[in-house]
Symmetry: C2
Subunit: 344 residues, 2 copies
Amino acid sequence: MTSNRTDTKPATGKRKETILSGMQPTGTGALHVGNLEGALRNWVELQEEYWMYCCIVDLHALTADWQDTKQMKDRVFQVAVDYLAGGLDPDKCAIFVQSEVPQHAELHLIFSMLITVPTLTRLPTYREKKNDLDSYGFLGYPVLQAADICLYNAHKVPVGKDQEKHVWLAKDLAERFNTTYRKVFNLPEALFREVPLILGSDGRKMSKSYDNHIPIEFTEKQTEKRIKSFFTDPNKKFQGDPGNPDKCPIFALHRVYTPGAAQEIAPPCRTGELGCVDCKMRLAGNLNDALRPVRDRRTELIQDPGFVWDVLRTGGERARERAANTMEKVRDAMKINYRKSKKK
Amino acid sequence: MTSNRTDTKPATGKRKETILSGMQPTGTGALHVGNLEGALRNWVELQEEYWMYCCIVDLHALTADWQDTKQMKDRVFQVAVDYLAGGLDPDKCAIFVQSEVPQHAELHLIFSMLITVPTLTRLPTYREKKNDLDSYGFLGYPVLQAADICLYNAHKVPVGKDQEKHVWLAKDLAERFNTTYRKVFNLPEALFREVPLILGSDGRKMSKSYDNHIPIEFTEKQTEKRIKSFFTDPNKKFQGDPGNPDKCPIFALHRVYTPGAAQEIAPPCRTGELGCVDCKMRLAGNLNDALRPVRDRRTELIQDPGFVWDVLRTGGERARERAANTMEKVRDAMKINYRKSKKK
């Protein structure tokens, strides 16, 4: 069902609150099964119930990739393709590029007056990376994130636990603004969801930056090969050795892709009856089956870049409309809306 | 002579380079004789030779005044009035408000990726004030200033010696951008001029923040009263005592407002023949004479706020046009101009 949603009229009666979500166009741009199962599938559900703004945060990607922007356009395109292939519906959800909405930078600049340097230098993400990444922009990353969220006056932000502090900081900035000037912003809350644990080939969290991931754009053959390279329980060296599925990234993926994995896969692994090679092949088959519709849609979209860019253009228009509306309220509240107050 | 200048066609053959200048709408907004004689008179000369962008930097004022923005609109208006009363010609010079040109925030955000936190924390202005003012925005003040300058691709920035480091930083950011991506920016240079030393009533540099100033908006009576309150050479207690004009803020003002002050005022001060009261009254007369045309124009402008806001509107349009042009080049150079490169 496609709803011709506009920003003033909800498609369904239940859509009451706004959600902001986003991903960075880093690496090759394309998403992996961790992004798909850990976030995107959830967003696809959320778009039925919420006003949804899905941003491709290219300005955030600049904090790390400022020297290497040649691939940014293709990365943005790849994220958009995956958003759509994964099921985001441009009629229900504004899909757009951050840098095409100038109000992100405007609200970021205003928020930057409302937060101290020590508040930012104390944040764990800054402390962890400051030896590699010490730009003024990187220090302000959470301020820009707060602006992203508040610009759409989001109520909820679907994030993982590692981003909880940043949503808290956005809430704090929204509150500080409301108290100093006038209530403009909803106080955004993190929206935690039950997400399956998706581990990468080395047993760590699946992530592009660890290069332990299964990109959605992989062919079935590439997927099979990558799955074969996965780490399993190191105590299970040969077929017949008993394994511990709880320590195995392959079993974590079975939980997502193999119905009844707890009954079908875990017991024969524990007894040693199921060897790792067989186990991986079953996973590859199931995972490829599950991803087939997404990949088919991906292939179609890749062949129609005009459509994808049009989605981003339309999404950008919708986002700018909402953002301009928020900034109008921001300026009114701060009494720096010179044109408007003049006419009063 | 009024030239119907446009940004593409110089009014006169000699106008080749661009200047960016700006003042903060702080205090009451209105400027003082230090601003007038130390900067504005110079800008009025420069507008004949350069493409001139005169900005009222309200976003910079927010770094200190973020909690108190109620007066910002009036302050912006007062600065615009003084710009015009002092002789800036809206046909020769774009007079505009910083926050009405969203590209300042956009370029600020991009520049913020190109500069490290320690570079900013080492700057003397931050070190001096960080105990009172420790916002992320205040730390980034020089980054925003660099964006102000580079957004108009300015060649020259008329500043005092105390701002030299900030222009150097703008040049450094321009250079870093050009080297990383592609040459977009001119490398801006500080334009130092011979300016008269204007001291305030306490003998320090005349400044609103010291409350030792003579606002242009003062009446002639208020001016006289303020001049009477001025500190003079403390060794000259009574008429007849010899004085040292080189230590006297009144004599510094005579240099500006009394023709032949070196011959007419200094010798009788040194001998003790000229008493401070007489000396101050002569200055008040001369200063009021010199300011009369500025103040008359000021009175007219105050009565025609529609005209003043129109000047800012037109100036803002001109500034946005130039700023949009620069940002287009910035995005092209960084290859994040998704729309444009798509068509190539």
